[in-house]
Symmetry: C2
Subunit: 221 residues, 2 copies
């Protein structure tokens, strides 16, 4: 039996949010991992240099077993009723085995009404946005609440996917996948979480992100 | 001044090998990160579901400041004289600031004659292949030898790219990028390196990879 795993893309998705889980989940026995979007054709990432040729629409993919949405700055604009990816999540969620997000993909789950009253996570700079959808933001890297799983910023999608692989196929399979991608991380600094980073670094990243958000919102109005 | 960072793709590249570094390096101030390949058009990854629309050829990209090649099973066939990506590496390397690889991308650097007599790394299952090019395989996650930098399997490209970001732009910038992608990894298991994995898991992954290699070589002849 095949498990269909659908990664929903949109213009401006963050590349690693999608590809970290993709790399892990394609090794899951019996899994078919596919990308889908509102329309077929090219969907570019946030940095515009990764152009993904998407061959399936949301309409072609109404019943994924595992649904995953990546984050990206554009979620600030997309996280609302009537937006195709949000409507796709709403319609698919009652039938999924897992509905999941990486980074600010959680805002899309929030807009679909899935996170009300639930602990969930997202990029550390987006906790307030998540709270606006009735979720209770937590600093955990991966949060599993029943069949809804959310991961922290960008790189946390790898940890999410390995956690799901263990739930779906058992620890041995997940360990084999982890060894296959040689995931024995050795970050050059131990400052990858807001609680660990020096204040000036945290302030720098916050300022850059707030600027990017302001520019995005100004361009959108 | 712009630093041109070129990620060379080929049919069957491993997605995360390319996208891990891409996600890190696109945040480097003054960097232009682009994908290139033998021909423009769609290049599919090893699992065939990620279809990247490449808009630059190797010929369009003769002088990258930083050259990076991802790994993939197909490197077993491509790592030889006369193959376009190997010839591109040979011609570009004398002019780069850094020439780098992730996973079995190191075999392509080896085929280009860059690793003779040097310590280098690759996926843990490909040490023998690397040795065949005169390199001295090491179990380090990131190996920097002058301007040549090699990373271990798949996910190690993230650690490589952050290490390079620190060399190029300083520790503060690299820490800001690391915090931006919230890279505070928490793998569900501590078995992501061959020395840490239980023997049965290591044997399983070895058997799967050797099978895939045999199939590839049988199909190619």
């Amino acid at each position: 039996m095949t498990m269909q795993i659908a990664i929903g893309l949109y213009e401006g998705f963050a590349a690693l949010d999608a590809i970290g889980p993709y790399q892990v989940l394609t090794s899951l026995p019996g899994a078919e991992v596919l990308f889908c979007a509102e329309r077929t054709g090219i969907v570019a990432d946030e940095d515009r240099m990764l152009r993904v040729d998407v061959t399936r629409t949301f309409a072609d993919t109404p019943r994924p077993d595992l649904l995953l949405v990546p984050g990206g700055l554009n979620t600030r604009l997309l996280a609302k009723d009537g937006v195709p990816i949000v409507e796709w999540i709403k319609a698919a969620h009652p039938h999924t085995t897992y509905t999941t997000s990486v980074c600010t993909g959680a805002l899309l789950l929030g807009a679909a009404g899935l996170l009300r009253g639930l602990p969930a996570t997202t990029h550390w700079l987006a906790y307030d946005h998540l709270r606006a959808f009735g979720a209770e933001p937590t600093e955990q890297r991966v949060v599993i609440q029943g069949k809804i799983a959310t991961a922290a910023g960008v790189s946390a999608g790898i940890d999410l996917a390995l956690t799901l692989a263990a739930e779906i196929a058992g620890a041995d399979v997940a360990q084999a996948i982890q060894l296959g991608i040689e995931y024995d991380p050795q970050p050059p600094f131990d400052t990858g979480a807001p609680s660990k980073a020096p204040a000036p670094i945290r302030e720098l990243v916050t300022a850059v992100m707030r600027d990017a958000e302001s520019t995005l919102l100004a361009e959108a109005t």
